[in-house]
């Protein structure tokens, strides 16, 4: 069974009488353990698609089945629960809480789970160590470099061990070395069994995935395997 199964998915925004279609009848499926990139120029609807797939937005018509459940039948609280436990987000602009420690930023999603308070720190610490930030736990998020910020965001996305990780232009605000480090983490996570969906407008970044879904003007115009995959290593060097 597919993790994500999208059938004829459409999304339009209404502003009074004006209807703006953003996504037009998409059909695709993503299997568990896949590393897929959604690629397209700005305005192609790729972010909207990610928001719908990540339970942050709702579709206008069609069907979205996640892990066998029809998402449009879920209540608001159930959607919150999905965001909490089934998916993790990594954003282009990091979206860390300012004036808050690295540890507390990573703990954030745990507040909305049934996890017991005393376990929070240990869990967050483990997640931060896995992205190489074990030495930065008590730094304020504002004091970190871009690459470090993005790694805190990845730790935060991982903390509830979600099935699926979304990355929305995760390297967009990073220098190429930090960007490669971040891509390496995603590839490693994928190797450990996480499903990763990467949203990007860059062909080069998209080629770190195994598969590229091309969007243009809200329609799916390509879906192919990456033949010559980019492999990043932890030092920011490329190996082929």
């Amino acid at each position: 069974m597919s993790l994500i199964d999208v059938k004829n998915l459409s999304k339009e925004y209404r502003n009074g009488e004006v209807v703006t279609p953003v996504l037009r009848g998409l059909n695709f499926a993503i299997q568990k353990g896949e590393f897929a990139a959604i690629m397209g120029p700005s305005g192609s609807g790729k972010s909207t698609l990610m928001h719908i797939l990540g339970f942050l937005d709702t579709l206008s018509s069609g069907q979205y089945i996640f892990d066998g459940r029809d998402v449009s039948t879920l209540s608001e609280d159930e959607l919150a629960e999905m965001r909490s436990c089934s998916v993790g987000f990594v954003f282009q602009s990091f979206n860390l809480l300012p004036r808050t420690t690295v540890l507390d930023n990573a703990i954030l999603p745990l507040m909305y789970t049934k996890d017991k308070r005393p376990e929070w720190s240990a869990k967050a610490k483990a997640a931060l160590e896995s992205v190489g930030l074990g030495h930065r736990l008590h730094h304020m998020s504002d004091q970190l470099s871009g690459g470090e910020k993005q790694r805190v965001a990845i730790a935060r996305a991982l903390i509830n061990k979600p099935e699926l990780i979304f990355a929305d232009e995760p390297t967009g605000n990073l220098d190429s070395k930090s960007g490669l480090q971040v891509m390496k983490i995603f590839q490693d996570l994928n190797a450990q069994g996480h499903t990763v969906i990467l949203v990007t407008h860059e062909k080069y970044t998209a080629e770190h995935a195994q598969r590229i879904l091309r969007l243009k003007d809200g329609a799916l115009v390509g879906d192919e395997k990456v033949r010559d995959r980019q492999l990043a290593d932890g030092n920011g060097e490329l190996r082929k």
Binding site: E76, S84, C85, F89, N95, L97, L108, M111, Y112, N160
Partner: protein, 414 residues
């Protein structure tokens, strides 16, 4: 209340310390006013009751009243103050009262205002005419001298008892006993000076001159009636029954058959206390109700601050929602903030109010009032409850707004 969300609220407030403190101060002023009002109300009540206790629970009073109106009504007060004079309460009535088996002493009193002079000093004072038994009914204390006697009153002697302030004003530290003062141009011999009593509730007794009722009636006012009769009962447990019987006796004296036409009223001290308590209670309540307006103003302030806070923290709200916060998680976080602000303001207000009520108590005492410092526990509980309620009332809309934010919109920062 969820502990985690509560702590989040605390953390958020600490980030905006100045704003939080100012908001709390706004609320605390209203709460302080409520506390001061209820403490002052209680203090006033105590004072009034203790003033009444000067007359003792054994006293019973018969006063004139405008017929066909209630004795506590404003028509009665208006009538008496605008020149309606009831002239029917006379010596015969005093004698009848005195003959009642449960009455120990009784005397009639009149009042007036005259200039009193001594050695070039002229002072306008309130004149009280009392029967000689007044000293037995009211526990009069003397700085020097004595009260006038039965004989002096019956032989219409021109004698006077000075209030402490009058004596100080006219004689200074000199001896006043035996000296002659002039009231309305007529000579009166000073026989006694009262001890300082302080400002009393109804009148300033220190600024009065007391004369025998009969002397005052005949020599100064030219009247033969009294304004009220004070009597002391032997057995106060019989007060109600005695009042009923006295009413019937005086009614018969005055030839009245229809109780509605009564030109007098019999009051026991218990009754007077009950009436005064009711009046003060109602007054206090009214003042507290007025003060509550300031709490509403504070509440609107809270609402304003919370809306600003929601607008400023859209990003945080969006982020929290994107990592799994439910509507009610966000709602409670912001509601907690509002309630912490108002309850904090409430605690601050109670402390402030308690201090202010204490200052009022000190001032009142220094002016000689028999004030008491009472902080009703009920008003503290009420204040706390009310401030929390204000927090919920005015916090719920901003919190709802926060909870209903769309996470994508909220995360989009320009």
């Amino acid at each position: 209340m969820n502990k985690t969300i509560f702590q989040l609220a605390i953390t958020a407030l600490r980030r905006q310390k100045t704003r939080a403190i100012l908001t709390m101060v706004a609320i605390s002023i209203g709460i302080a006013a409520v506390v001061v009002m209820s403490a002052a109300g209680k203090g006033l009540e105590k004072m009034v009751i203790s003033e009444l206790d000067v007359f003792g629970p054994n006293t019973i009073e018969i006063e004139v009243k405008v017929p066909s109106v209630k004795k506590t009504s404003s028509e009665n007060a208006m009538g008496l103050s605008t020149g309606i004079t009831i002239t029917t309460l006379k010596d015969r009535d005093i004698d009848s009262v005195r003959q009642h088996p449960n009455i120990e002493y009784a005397n009639g009193s009149v009042m007036g205002q005259e200039s009193v002079s001594y050695g070039g000093q002229i002072k306008k004072v309130v004149l009280m005419g009392h029967g000689w038994e007044q000293a037995l009914i009211d526990d009069v204390k003397f700085a020097s001298g004595r009260f006038f006697t039965k004989e002096e009153e019956e032989s219409l002697n021109s004698v006077a008892v000075l209030g402490n302030a009058v004596k100080q004003k006219m004689f200074g530290d000199d001896e006043a006993i035996g000296k002659t003062i002039y009231v309305k141009g007529k000579p009166f011999k000073v026989v006694g000076v009262m001890a300082k009593r302080g400002a009393a509730f109804f009148f300033d007794i220190d600024n009065m001159v007391t004369l025998p009722t009969k002397t005052m009636q005949k020599k100064l006012l030219g009247i033969n009636y009294v304004m009220y009769i004070m009597a002391k009962m032997k057995d106060r447990t019989q007060a109600k029954q005695t009042a009923v019987e006295l009413t019937e006796i005086i009614r018969a004296n005055h030839g009245i058959t229809d109780p509605d036409k009564d030109d007098f009223a019999v009051n026991t001290m218990e009754e007077a206390k009950a009436i005064l308590k009711t009046i003060i209670g109602a007054l206090t309540l009214l003042l507290i109700a007025l003060v509550c307006i300031s709490l509403v103003v504070g509440g609107v302030g809270i609402m304003n601050i919370m809306y600003v806070s929601v607008a400023e923290r859209k990003f945080e709200i969006g982020l929290r929602k994107s990592v799994g916060a439910r509507r009610q998680d966000i709602l409670w976080q912001f509601l907690d903030e509002a309630v912490i602000l108002t309850t904090g303001g409430g605690v601050l207000g109670i402390v402030l109010g308690a201090l202010l009520a204490f200052v009022i108590y000190i001032v009142a005492i220094s002016y000689g009032f028999k004030w008491s410092y009472i902080l009703p526990f009920s008003s503290i509980l009420l204040s706390l409850g009310f401030s929390a309620f204000i927090g919920i009332l005015f916090g719920v809309y901003p919190a709802k707004k926060a909870a209903s934010l769309n996470p994508i919109e909220a995360l989009r920062r320009e």
